[in-house]
């Protein structure tokens, strides 16, 4: 792996190491701290959230429990209150009816006369409350009272502080407009044949004429058949009839309003339809009677019967004004609200209802019971039977399979006959329920979902057991009160609503607080993270800055050292490193400086030595040159004049002397030349040239001189130039000539017979110049010696042969300095071959 370029240097590495050992743990630490903090924050958030949630749910459940308990408690309390109201009402009704028993007893004691009867009736009056006039609202969508009644509790004295808590005052209860109404609409005296002998009426409800009531057609709504019962009465016994009245049909169920009637395709005639409280306050009222009768005795014998027809309105009063709500009493019933009281007779037929069309009655034309409301199934059965409804129903078991799933017969609604005979009202299972709690004379309640409302419905038997009403424990019948359950626990539901509102508020505020808390946590986390990372980054920056600075500091010294060393290396020997510091770097610098000192010293000495050597060389050169010059100058005179003498002298002996002088001078000159050449070579002052030299002509020219000498001496001379020799040889021509001259000169000099041969040939990368003679030869033990200075073989005298003893030595030196060598091949008595090998250079550098 290749490191990035910036890590290549010590500086980069140092920085990287710093960063690694400082920054990485720092970042890790910061990360860990941040991680822990954020985890804590998260935990706090989650726990706070779940705490708030659980708190809220606890409050909710507590609220719900409290509300439920309150509702339950209120329901129970309401039930209790309404049940009590029901039994009280039933008892009041019974008491009222028992009072009528007293009336009939008193009436039976009266001397039958119209005056007495009238007086009797006038004395018996009771307050009945009726609501004031109502009218259709202007928009035709409801019925409204003509005059809105403002009821206000009046408190004129200051409420004492002691009484201020829950101080509650109600206005006087308003039951309606009071009317003093005679209890009885009719009082008659009958003879034993059923003829009405005396008849006093009031109110015009009944026929005023005297008739025989044994004929039903002569009775009220042709529905009374009491004479048969009267005849069975023993003295002191009381007869009490059913509630008898003409059935009042309706053209609409519910609010009787123009729109409803229009929808049903019927004319809007509220006065002709049945009265129904707020739903039709101007309707036709159900008018009925309950007839009491008792034998009139004379001397212990029944001589006739007295009857009293109780105005049914007095019984209705017990239920009509009753409200099972905090309203307590109402001048007008509001059936649609579901809060109202009913009265049912001993046959479970409706005898008091806010809707008059629901009170069971008779057809005044036939005297037969009006067809009651049935469910679809029963209605279909009846239709199939082809019988009058009363006859058909007589064969049907009462309370047959009553349940809420049954549908009311629409045809009867259309016909407008919907009197409630609980025995056949099979889509109203509460009928069965009422009977269940009252048929043994008791009371009770249950809750039923009916007509879209949860209703508490109570029932209490009316403990009136006179006459036929004594046949069952149920007595006269039973009172039921229906109440909208929601009304009971209004307070609780209000509280619940309040609690819910409170809870919602709390929930919202909790959520707010929670989100605030979360925000705070998040904020604190953010600020922590900012602080943490900020300080980390700051520290990282500082660390990096320090790392860069320190690396710079360290490497500056190192690079300073490096540049110092480079400068030293490149020749600035005076250069020294800054060695002020006492650390390792300082020591290193010191060491270097010491080394530099010694190197410089060495260089100085070397330089001095070189200069000395050069000086010596110069001096040697100068010496050699001077020597040469100074030796040649006298030789010039000697040789020159000796030669001149040779020509000038006539005496042969003198000529010979002159020749000797010349020969000696020449010998001396040779000696001088060769000594100087050797000296020059040894002094390194001999320059060797390298120039392209025409080989053939050089060899030929050099050989020519010696060929002449050889021939003169009687020797043969042979020059052999081998094939493949270069035209030009790169060498020093002067020195090559000197070599060849020396060798040839020696060959001629030391050979007495035979011939001299010079052979030039290429040998590998060398060129060989072989000079062969037929001289005495050189013994093997002497072969090395011949190349030494001033060494000649003993049998050859230098003087004799004119040799200097330096020639071969010089040739060897020259050949070697020209990159070559010399070999000797000799056989004593046969001759010698000296071969000089020189590099076969053909290219000029």
């Amino acid at each position: 792996m290749k490191l990035p370029a910036f890590l290549g240097g010590i500086r980069g590495k140092l920085i990287a190491i710093f960063v690694l050992i400082k920054v990485v743990p720092l970042v890790l630490l910061a990360w860990y701290a941040w991680h822990a903090t954020s985890q804590l924050g998260e935990e706090v958030s989650v726990k706070a959230g779940s705490m708030a949630d659980s708190m809220l749910s606890t409050i909710k459940s507590v609220g719900k429990t409290v509300t439920d308990d309150s509702i339950r408690a209120l329901d129970l309390r309401s039930r209790e209150a309404i049940e009590a109201m029901t039994t009280d009402t039933a008892k009041e009704i019974a008491n009222f009816l028992y009072d009528r028993d007293n009336d009939i007893r008193q009436a039976s004691d009266l001397e039958p006369s119209e005056a007495a009867f009238r007086l009797f009736m006038n004395e018996r009056r009771r307050t009945i409350y009726r609501h004031a006039t109502w009218k259709l609202a202007e928009d035709g969508k409801s019925w409204v009272p003509e005059k809105e009644l403002a009821r206000e509790a009046k408190v004129t004295r200051p409420v004492l502080p002691d009484n201020a808590k829950d101080f509650h005052a109600r206005p006087p209860e308003y039951l309606g407009e009071a009317e003093q109404r005679p209890l009885f609409v009719e009082m008659t005296y009958l003879d034993l044949n059923g003829n009405e002998k005396i008849k006093v009426t009031s109110g015009g409800l009944t026929d005023k004429g005297l008739k025989n009531i044994s004929d039903r057609n002569n009775t009220f709504t042709r529905a009374e058949s009491y004479f048969a019962d009267l005849k069975k009465l023993k003295p002191g016994q009381i007869y009490v009839s059913d509630v008898i009245g003409a059935y009042v049909p309706t053209q609409a169920i519910g609010p009787y309003l123009p729109a409803t009637l229009e929808k049903a395709g019927k004319p809007f005639k509220p006065e002709e339809s049945a009265y129904a409280g707020t739903e039709n306050p101007v309707g036709k009222r159900f008018r009925g009677i309950v007839r009491w009768a008792m034998p009139v005795l004379k001397g212990g014998q029944t001589v006739g019967y007295v009857t009293l027809a109780l105005d049914h309105d007095h019984i209705r009063q017990f239920s009509d004004r009753l409200m099972p709500t905090e309203e307590r009493y109402t001048p007008i019933a509001d059936a649609i609200k579901g809060n109202y009281a009913f009265i049912w007779d001993y046959k479970s037929r409706s005898i008091s209802h806010p809707r008059d069309y629901m009170i069971v009655g008779y057809d005044p034309q036939t005297g037969r019971p009006a067809t009651p409301w049935m469910d679809e199934d029963l209605y279909a059965e009846w239709q199939a039977s082809g019988k009058p409804s009363d006859e058909f129903l007589a064969g049907i078991p009462p309370f047959r399979d009553q349940n809420l799933k049954r549908k009311p017969a629409k045809a009867l609604v259309k016909a407008g006959t919907i009197g409630l005979d609980c025995r056949y009202l099979n889509f109203s299972p509460q009928c069965d329920g009422w009977n269940a709690v009252t048929e043994h004379g008791g009371s009770g309640s249950f809750v039923i979902f009916f007509s879209g409302l949860w209703k508490l419905t109570t029932a209490a038997a009316i403990p009136y057991h006179t006459g036929q009403y004594g046949n069952t424990p149920q007595g006269f019948g039973f009172v039921t009160i229906g109440a909208n359950v929601d009304e009971f626990h209004k307070a609780a539901t209000a509280t619940a609503a309040q609690i819910n509102t409170l809870l919602e508020e709390k929930d919202a505020s909790f959520k707010n607080q929670r989100s605030e808390l979360l925000d705070q946590v998040a904020q604190s986390l953010t600020s922590t993270a900012l602080g943490l990372w900020g300080s980390t980054i700051l520290m990282v920056v500082i660390v990096i800055a320090i790392a860069v600075w320190m690396a710079g500091l360290l490497t500056r010294r190192i690079t300073g050292m490096i540049s110092g060393i480079h400068a030293f290396q490149e020749g600035d020997l005076k250069r020294r490193l800054d060695a002020h510091s006492s650390d390792e770097m300082g020591e290193l610098a010191c060491s270097f400086n010491r080394m530099a000192d010694s190197v410089e010293e060495s260089f100085k000495r070397l330089e001095e030595a070189r200069e000395k050597a050069e000086e010596a060389s110069r001096q040697k050169s100068a010496f050699l040159a001077t020597m040469s010059h100074e030796l040649r100058t006298p030789l010039n005179g000697i040789l020159g004049f000796a030669e001149l003498l040779k020509y000038e002298l006539d005496n042969p002996a003198q000529q010979e002397y002159a020749a000797v002088i010349q020969q000696s001078g020449e010998h001396l000159l040779n000696l001088v030349n060769e000594i100087l050449d050797l000296a020059k070579i040894e002094a390194g002052e001999m320059p060797f040239k390298r120039v392209p030299t025409p080989l053939a002509s050089l060899v030929a020219e050099t050989a020519a001189g010696y060929q002449v000498t050889a021939t003169a001496k009687g020797l043969g001379f042979e020059l052999i130039m081998a094939d493949g020799l270069p035209a030009n040889l790169v060498t020093d021509p002067v020195r090559l000539r000197q070599i060849l001259s020396n060798l040839l000169s020696n060959a001629v000099k030391f050979t007495e017979h035979g011939k001299i041969k010079l052979a030039v040939s290429p040998v590998g990368e060398e060129i060989a110049f072989a000079v062969t003679d037929t001289g005495a030869g050189i013994p093997p033990e002497s072969r090395e010696m011949v190349f030494e200075k001033f060494k000649q073989l003993e049998n050859f005298l230098t003087r004799e042969h004119g040799g200097t003893g330096l020639g071969l030595s010089l040739v060897k030196q020259l050949a070697e300095h020209m990159g070559g060598r010399i070999t000797l091949d000799s056989e004593v008595g046969v001759g010698s071959t000296f071969t000089v090998y020189l590099p076969l250079d053909t290219t000029d550098e």
Partner: protein, 121 residues
Amino acid sequence: MNEERHALVVDDHPTNRLLASALLKRMGWIVSDAENGNLALEQAGQKTFRLILLDISMPGLSGEETCAKLRATPSGGALKIIAYTAHAFQEDRDRLLAAGFDDILVKPISVQALEALTKDL
């Protein structure tokens, strides 16, 4: 060669002057001599020489300097100036030829060598 052949031998050493003069005279030259460069220049100004043998190591003007001055004279170009010297090394030869000498006659001289150098003149 109907002309008179005048040669000048310049050398501070009397023996050398004498030898060279003797040899040249023997070869038919009319020889003058001078013992230093200045005298040589003086003579060369008065007489036209065909050949000058000029020593190198002389007191006063050296051989090279004298050669350069001789070459600078009107007839200096045609003049054959031969270095007459005991400086026998190769490098000396090279130096002198470069300094304007036509040839070099190395001491000790021989008749043969002198003849070889002067045979064309």
